[in-house]
Amino acid sequence: MKEIIDLSFWQLLAAYIFVLILILIVKVKRIPREREILLATVRMTFQLILAGYILVYLFENTHPILTLFSICIMQVFAIYNVYKRSNTRINFQMKKIIALSMTLGIFFSLFYFIFIVINVSPWYEPRYFIPIAGMIIGNSMTGITLGVNNLITGMKSHREEVEGALMLGATPKAASKKVTNQAFDAAMIPTINSMVGMGIVFLPGLMTGQILSGTSPVVAIEYQIAVILGIVGSVSLSVILFLHLGYKQFFNERSQLINEHE
């Protein structure tokens, strides 16, 4: 197997020049986005350099507490990101439900894959644990953000229908079923689309990384399949938990629709 090409300083610089050319084109075309592209490039560079150093430290100082601590930090950032990316105001109770469902869904899937599917030894090995957690957490974050937005906007736009169902003796669960089903679909679509296109339209990141580092494509595919199944499991589990607890926030104990969701 050939050794991986280590990118030299000049090679990386060439990649940055590529972005500079892009910024130039954007400027000439008068698309006012050069600032955003520049900022994102600088931010990405610093974040990845920092992540690189942290990963080197974690790989050299393997310890369960350090691995778990890193996962918790990633999880907290993901939850915060869901709050930030939601296009409506979320009240405190809803925030608690988002945090709880994400934590349970993600941790259950992650530990199931680490302990049972991949059977990593020692279980806290950061070389496996952290990248897999990153993929599972990142995808769940996208899914749950879509689920949250669709539940909140759906309950608002289908308010009359939900109220009409309550008047016909529906339970709050039955009355909001259409909205929760639509929110679940919306949350799952990106994951399902990426599964459908995988291997034909694009090669997924984990697999590409492993192939680039010299792993046999067959092994890389095995890992990719395992991780994708973990992602699907985690996204659906988190979203199901969220919707199961989340719709109740729109009703009071007398099964009445709460006026404004604030």
Binding site: E163, G164, A165, L166, M167, L168, G169, T171, A174, Q256
Partner: protein, 217 residues
């Protein structure tokens, strides 16, 4: 059947004492904005008053299961809600919500005919006109075999002739099945014709007081 005592809904209405008798036709009159729909929503516990108590068959509503109450005391709002699916699915949705046996095909086709809905059971319900949707919603409520039928402006989307047929049909059901009918209308003539009791909401509306107050200043 229903009694309302010392009810207050902030800035909208204040009812010291009001009784709605059983197995009778009660008509709620009042201009728009006087809280006619709000009063109905108090009766099926879609809302809870800020103060006071509502009882149904001598039991405080707050002690009853609100979902079971709404299956017995069915309200049809002025703009009826039509759910995705066919006319058949819409007619049977009440039984689906209460997890009971769905009505038979004969019952469904029979009620369509009675309410002059010249449609097939498998037609898409969203294609119906406003008036047809209103009739479908009333038929759907009747298929739930309620004790109380509450209709909010049941003939607002119907022409005079159809309105007469529909009102007649509703009254026939009410009489044959011993139901109580509570309906909101702004049509005083209709109220005088069919109601055993009328409730003039202007007596309870706080908005009226506000306008008098505003006029005086």
């Amino acid at each position: 059947m229903y009694t309302l005592t010392n009810i207050k809904i902030n800035e909208l209405m204040k009812i010291d004492n009001l009784t709605i008798p059983e197995q009778s036709v009660t008509c709620i009159l009042g201009p728009s904005g006087s809280g006619k729909s709000t009063l109905m929503k108090l009766l099926n516990n879609m809302i809870t008053p800020d103060e006071g108590q509502v009882t149904y068959k001598k039991q405080p509503i707050s002690d009853l299961d609100p979902i079971h109450l709404r299956r017995k005391s069915v309200m049809v709002p002025q703009t009826p809600v039509i759910f995705d699916g066919t006319i058949k699915e819409n007619l049977a949705i009440g039984s689906k919500f209460s997890e009971e046996e769905p009505p038979s095909i004969e019952q469904l086709t029979g009620i369509l005919e009675e309410f002059q809905l010249n449609k097939k059971l498998n037609d898409n319900a969203s294609n119906l006109s406003g008036g047809e949707k209103q009739r479908l919603a009333i038929a759907r409520a009747l298929l739930m075999n309620p004790e109380v039928l509450m209709l909010d402006e049941p003939t607002s989307a119907l022409d005079e002739e159809t309105a007469e047929v529909v009102v007649h049909k509703i009254l026939e059901y009410v009489e044959n099945k011993g139901l109580s009918l509570i309906f909101v209308t702004h049509n005083k003539e209709l109220a005088a014709q069919v109601a055993d009791h009328t409730i003039d909401l202007m007596k309870y509306s706080l908005k009226k007081e506000m306008t008098t107050h505003e006029r005086n200043h």
